[in-house]
Point group: C2
DNA sequence: GAAGAACCTGTGAACGTTCACATTCGCGCC
DNA sequence: GGCGCGAATGTGAACGTTCACAGGTTCTTC
């Protein structure tokens, strides 16, 4: 900056004013400075600016580094929304579901004096230690419960799962199984509870339930277990995500069960591939773009207001009907009789 | 830091020495300072440290924000490798394939004075303007060609595609089609060339070739076009990635063609789901963990050496045989005869 | 017992900005 | 013609660190 100033015969302050385009600078001076900036390839030093002005244009984002569709997608959308608002994003991935690693990651972000932190850790563990760690740093929990009061963007997982289950009930299914993920995850627990409560509300007994690890392999193996131990005791299956649903589809096909004729399957997430499964998957869509945008908006509001007034935003998932669900075998028979 | 110093009755410099655990500080002083640090919840200010020491512990990563498996996975692995080396990562996503946006993103990273930048933009466009933009900033191109000499991590896309094509030839296929992605992408072009050159080497005429956009939908539609216009003129298909292969599989199944009996398909990437397609997909695996780790390692080397000595690392993909490929129909007949 | 080494600690400057304030200049007005 | 005013520009300090060096002990050594 001093170089630029020297070249134009003005003071560094004038250069600063031009860079931040403040009004009180003469038109020709501004032009001269801009030219010198161009020629010298001057770039403001964010670090120095940040240090002296005591406000940062960097947002922190903490999330699982699993490579799963949801987290990756959220991350991308957070970055885009941040960029649109003039912020950069520092990403910290959590490889293990481990409180110490989370602490480390958040600490790191705080050391960099980010303007605020988005925490996307949909775990059922107590993260209230973060309250002390981030005394003056605005926080937003994304689809997560940190164990203390924060601003948050919450996805109505339970109502998504209810839509899925109700859809199957409406199709005449009475024995509906569940392929859930570990209840250590918020989304998994809520989706599981949605399944359970919807069945209860319809006065149906819950079908068999098996657990897997969000992956296709997990879904495949869990579905095989379901087939081996509970075959005949269910005509439909609610699955915790689309990847697991893919694995389940393969397991049923290999067992000779036709989908959706003998068994209906509904997934969760609506990954871009699920419309091309065999059969195309009926599922519940999460709008990750909206989640990311709302998260950033919420964080920015809080940064603006100096941390006052926590807000909670809600994102409602959408039910997407494709070809992996059909009327229950018995219902189909009845339907056929009615047709005559 | 001054607070900590005051509390222990030492100077800020001594605190600094404890924080950076330098050797020349008495054991009991160190303990006292550490205790005060703990009590006051002191965290070093990376911004100030960075400003004065003129070296950063932040790496920049520029990549497509498409949500595709490859880029997301690379990003995650880069972050993890960087973390292991004590660095943080600032991510800049590119939404449009647009030189101006790339310039903006890199400029932003440079303004933050990152220690180095990883560029993962596998495009066939001239990015030589980056050379001037990043005068003194170490660069590493990941699976990309920037149009000027840089350190790089390159994936042997062409040899991956050759393995896939050769596998089909070895199975007796003589008419092999190609479902490629836009040649504006480096990977797409190299994979396409691998297909072409392998056929040439085997003295076979290239089968029909259609282009799609990396997505399942694109693959589905392109495969339908292939079926409509070229049915009977190919018995096998090399596809640019697994997502497109999934779309293609659905198109063939819907057209009544059985896989792999009537048509063999081989994908690229080995996404975690591809082992659970129907049928499980034969594909070429890219080791994204290795790509990410090598990229960071390469960048760190360059940062260490002050930008001297550009190196190129190479990653070789692995062929994964599953159930979507089988001997060509004619070859199968011959095989059957031999069996008798 | 003095010189020097080894160890520990403190001081002043610098990094590249912004902020609050001071200064200069030209102009209109009574 | 002096006064006040607004517009344009400059000055000094500060942000929280590290770096280079200087100072002060204590211990060793001849």
């Amino acid at each position: 900056m001093t170089d630029v100033a020297a070249r134009c015969g003005v003071s560094y302050q004038t250069v600063s004013r031009v860079i931040n385009n403040m009004p009180e600078v003469a038109e020709d001076t501004r032009a001269r400075v801009l030219k010198a900036v161009q020629e010298l390839g001057y770039r403001p030093n964010m670090t120095a600016r940040h240090l002296v002005s005591r406000r940062s244009t960097v947002l922190g984002h903490v999330s699982f580094a699993t490579g799963l569709y949801g987290p990756s997608q959220t991350m991308l959308n957070v970055e885009e929304a941040a960029k649109d608002a003039g912020y950069s994003v520092m990403f910290a991935g959590i490889a293990e579901e481990n409180v110490d690693e989370i602490r480390r990651a958040v600490n790191e972000l705080c050391a960099h004096r980010v303007a605020g932190i988005l925490i996307h850790l949909p775990l059922e563990i107590d993260l209230s230690m973060l309250r002390n760690l981030c005394q003056n740093v605005p926080l937003v929990a994304m689809d997560s419960d940190l164990g203390f009061k924060t601003s948050a963007v919450l996805v109505k997982q339970k109502s998504g799962s209810r839509m899925a289950t109700q859809h199957l009930i409406d199709l005449g299914h009475r024995q509906i199984a569940c392929l859930r993920a570990s209840l250590a995850y918020r989304a998994a627990r809520l989706r599981y509870q949605g399944w359970l409560s919807t069945l209860k509300a319809a006065e149906l007994n819950p079908g068999p339930c098996v657990e897997a690890d969000w992956s296709s392999r997990g879904g495949f193996e869990a579905a095989r277990e379901l087939i081996k131990n509970h075959w005949g005791k269910f005509t439909a299956l609610v699955v915790a995500n689309d990847q697991m649903a893919l694995g389940a589809i393969r397991a049923f096909r290999e067992a000779g069960a036709s989908i959706p004729d003998e068994i209906s399957i509904v997934g969760f997430d609506d990954i871009p591939e699920s419309g091309f499964f065999l059969p195309p998957l009926t599922t519940v869509q999460q709008d990750f773009v909206k989640i990311g945008k709302l998260g950033v908006q919420c964080l920015l509001e809080q940064i603006g207001s100096g941390g006052a007034g926590l807000r909670t935003y809600t994102v409602v998932p959408t039910f997407i009907e494709r070809a992996s669900t059909a009327p229950a075998p018995r219902a189909r028979l009845k339907l056929a009789r009615n047709d005559k």
